[in-house]
Symmetry: C2
Subunit: 198 residues, 2 copies
């Protein structure tokens, strides 16, 4: 059920990371105490600080662990397609699905890390930048290939795509609502690519 970490990490470290992951399904990060984490993991509080600089570092590393799953899932889906619009559609659908499958990941990424400045110097954020860059590249290629209108601002389009995805997930992440990712992504793509105006 748990166990995303396959690395040759010491067992205690894995237990700690899984414990936080588990607790974050119910509570927000700030109201989870280090004592909580330790007892859930079945280790002592002190051990947390053997493996993690501080509580936030633990959060970032958990985030990074989930990122692996995310990246693999995304990459496995895009490559085969030739059309850039199709690629973007796949990214939208796949990202939505990833967030849906992996809600703790979504919760950390969308709600918990963004308010602490040092997150933006973390490895996890580097991965976000790569992901985000990928989208921009596809957009630019799409404009070059004549699939996307040339009067579209690439950065703006990326913003609309990312914003739509994230906002669509919020209800899910915050209230635990179910989300029909196929349907929602279709609706979003419909709006973004074909436009809402008659």
């Amino acid at each position: 059920m748990e166990s995303e970490q396959k690395k040759s990490y010491p067992p205690g470290k894995i237990k700690i990371m899984n414990a936080l992951s588990e607790l974050m399904r119910e509570k927000d990060f700030h109201s989870i105490t280090t004592a909580d984490i330790a007892t859930t993991a079945g280790v002592t509080e002190g051990l947390i600080y053997k493996y993690f600089k501080d509580k936030k570092d633990l959060l970032y590393q958990v985030l990074n662990g989930h990122f692996q799953t995310f990246q693999n899932y995304i990459v496995s889906k895009i490559e085969t397609r030739k059309s850039n619009i199709e690629k973007l559609s796949i990214i939208i659908k796949t990202t939505l699905k990833s967030y849906s499958i992996n809600r703790v990941f979504a919760r950390i990424l969308l709600l918990e890390v963004r308010n602490s400045p040092n997150y933006f110097e973390s490895d996890a954020y580097d991965m976000v930048k790569i992901y985000s860059r990928t989208i921009l590249d596809i957009i630019n290629q799409g404009i070059k290939d004549g699939e996307i209108k040339e009067d579209i601002d690439p950065h703006a389009l990326r913003q609309v795509i990312l914003g739509s995805i994230e906002h669509a997930c919020l209800g899910e992440v915050i209230f635990g609502k179910e989300l029909d990712t196929d349907k929602v992504s279709e609706h979003i793509c419909n709006i973004i690519f074909r436009g809402a105006k008659k």
Copy 2:
């Protein structure tokens, strides 16, 4: 310079709220201590708990204060317009501008409150719901009036609109970047209403 609160609040309460507001321009909520707030306000820590249930309640009330400014600004702009598309465009532009002018407000709304469940029972969240409902109503009216395609899902369109706005502000809020709100909102509207696909 400060002073948004005109209500007949006791002076200490106003000072406390303004103090938090001020501190939040530089730090994130969690790294601001109650001692910080008290000294900045020129009162004692105890007084905070005379007027606010806890630190988060203070945050929510500050948010509510800023909401007043926000609502007034928005409302003053929409009413005169007749076209629904135009109304939505104005909302996008005006919201972006509001966030830009009032960054502390944006920071609280987009980064700080969403991760604590009891925010969603606060008065502040009720105002968000009203704002959000307004957008949905305009969309539905737009479909009825034949301005917006009838195969568009109203909730999805709202999500795209809100998501685009919020994501566009993130850089601003997190990194303090400047944002050309007129330009950005134009780009966003261009994509959402006319579509990105050639």
